[in-house]
């Protein structure tokens, strides 16, 4: 691990300023991704600014929204009674990821900013355009069973690993940020992460030193009928091969509206808007869900070892919608 200066600060603007002042500085929250990647020299900050003591630890519930401060842990969010009641898909998604120990450490902002688990990204001896721009991508023709089929480019096919983010995408969350000069802004969740295109090293919409302060999840009555399905190689403590987050708004057996997010198969937390649209007004049958799944995955591009994800994703989508439909509320 590279040596670094460790800074504990207590005001958000000071933390933003400390990172903005140095190109090699990084924010540290739970550390579950960052310390891991520092040990293998993928991340080599010269300054680490601890952001867990900036007073960003509250969950504020109102009729209009739930506002989640950046340093709230994944466990705190998943276990919160209002989140479980209003947004079950969010609790389910978080609880399906990692382990209790890791969820107790990982923060909401840290989960949003977590890095890909692509083995070539994590290996400094491999070629990776995301880690080292212009160096190539060993995943394209390498061991790519876990890699993405949506949002890919010829430069990167790394999967975004988060479960929580898939639920936040479906719930139209907003990411609120602060800069050292005190200016703030709000970024729609679906615009926050960037597909790789020809600049895979640009992963998110943040400027250097821009600090996530909180995430706002607007109230959505239909989200009481929401569900997350995650398919993986083992029953627990594993990243998704495919996952689907759904919200289903039904009037009797007719769909008023639907939302669909996908994980484990895309380069960013994925929202399948066209698939959502064709469900409106249809009967909530497995056939309708299958039609939506075909549209959701229509743009998929598979490589040597991940072709199975296309059919797997379709079935995951149908399962998620059918479970939401059949829930006794």
């Amino acid at each position: 691990m590279n040596a670094f200066t460790f800074e504990r600060l207590s005001r958000p603007t000071d933390a933003a300023g400390a990172v903005a002042a140095r190109p090699g500085a990084m924010f540290l929250a739970g550390g579950t991704t960052m310390v891991d990647l520092m040990k293998v020299d993928v991340l080599t900050p010269d300054t680490v600014v601890d952001v867990r003591h900036l007073g960003l630890s509250s969950i504020d519930v109102s009729d209009r929204a739930i506002a989640v401060s950046a340093a709230v842990t994944n466990s705190q969010l998943a276990w919160h009674p209002a989140v479980r009641e209003r947004f079950p898909v969010l609790s389910q998604a978080i609880l399906s990821g990692a382990t209790t120990q890791i969820r107790n450490m990982a923060t909401v902002a840290g989960n949003i900013l977590q890095r890909t688990r692509c083995s070539y990204f994590r290996d400094v001896h491999a070629s990776c355009n995301r880690r080292q721009p212009g160096s190539g991508c060993d995943a394209l023709d390498g061991f790519n069973r876990g890699h993405a089929v949506l949002g890919v480019s010829d430069h990167c096919i790394a999967t975004h690993p988060s479960d929580m983010c898939v639920a936040l995408a479906v719930l139209d969350a907003e990411v609120h940020t602060l800069r050292a000069d005190g200016t703030t802004r709000s970024i729609p969740f679906v615009d926050f992460h960037k597909a790789p295109g020809d600049t895979p090293h640009i992963e998110v919409a943040l400027a250097h030193g821009e600090l996530i302060t909180h995430v706002v999840i607007p109230h959505l009555a239909a989200a009481r009928r929401s569900h997350y399905v995650k398919v993986r190689d083992r029953a627990s403590y594993e990243f998704a091969l495919a996952s689907a987050a759904v919200v289903l708004d039904v009037d009797g057996d007719t769909i008023r509206g639907a939302r669909l997010g996908l994980g484990g198969i895309a380069t960013k937390p994925w929202r399948a808007v066209e698939a959502e649209q064709i469900l409106t007004g249809r009967k909530a049958t497995d056939d309708a869900f299958r039609d939506a799944a075909e549209i959701a995955i229509a743009g998929a591009v598979a490589r040597n070892h991940n072709h199975f994800k296309i059919e797997l994703t379709k079935r995951t989508i149908v399962r998620a919608f059918a479970t939401a439909r059949d829930a006794n509320l």
Partner: protein
């Protein structure tokens, strides 16, 4: 591939007040030091084990401010002002914690290397069930979990962050089950140390 150049810089020391098992230590720590290495190599508390050192096995589990976490992915300097409990701090002198006693009774280990992490994790898992919070296998996250209805599948899910290469899992689940089922936890502790008994 272009050669990779790492900048070697001097060690950076961080003054850190580390409170472990109710004792506060004023230390000057290398900023890179993990809590795991600080516990073992600086404080000599070798009960906390280094398994994978990359957050995959749970052997290094400790309790910080009441929550189970991985000490291998925690920087020691980031623990300023927090209270760390390790396996050395779990028993009250010669009186074992109910979970330690249950692991003995149920033979919840073979080589023992993962055991400190298993026990600390299990202590918290029981607390979480008593707090009523859901897990991934809870049928409905809206409902409050009860220790009376927790299945073995649920115990396995809640303990999935702790790997055991000897595969003592059935006996670990039995130990957690015993503590969960015990109305009087302190009574379990007093009975600790006897022969293994199964439910």
């Amino acid at each position: 591939m272009s050669p990779r150049v790492l900048t070697v810089r001097e060690t950076v020391g961080v003054r850190t007040s580390l409170r472990v098992n109710d004792t506060t230590h004023e230390l000057l720590l290398d900023s890179r030091l993990t809590l795991l290495d600080a516990l073992r190599d600086v404080l000599g508390l070798t009960g906390t084990k280094k398994g994978c050192d990359q957050g995959a096995c749970g052997a290094c589990t400790v309790i910080i401010d009441g929550q189970r976490v991985l000490s291998c992915l925690t920087l020691a300097a980031a623990c300023e002002g927090q209270h760390v409990v390790t396996i050395e701090g779990l028993s009250s002198g010669e009186v074992l914690d109910p979970m330690q006693a249950a692991f003995l009774r149920c033979d919840g280990f073979q080589c023992g290397y993962c055991t400190p992490g298993q026990i600390l994790s299990a202590v918290c898992a029981v607390r979480e069930v008593h707090a009523g919070v859901p897990s991934h296998v809870t049928p409905d996250v809206r409902l409050t979990v009860s220790s009376a209805t927790v299945t073995d599948e649920e115990i396995r899910e809640r303990m999935s962050g702790n790997l055991c290469r000897c595969a003592a899992y059935p006996n670990i689940v039995a130990a957690v089950r015993q503590v969960l089922s015990s109305a009087d936890l302190s009574a379990v502790a007093r009975r600790g140390g006897g022969r293994a008994e199964r439910e």
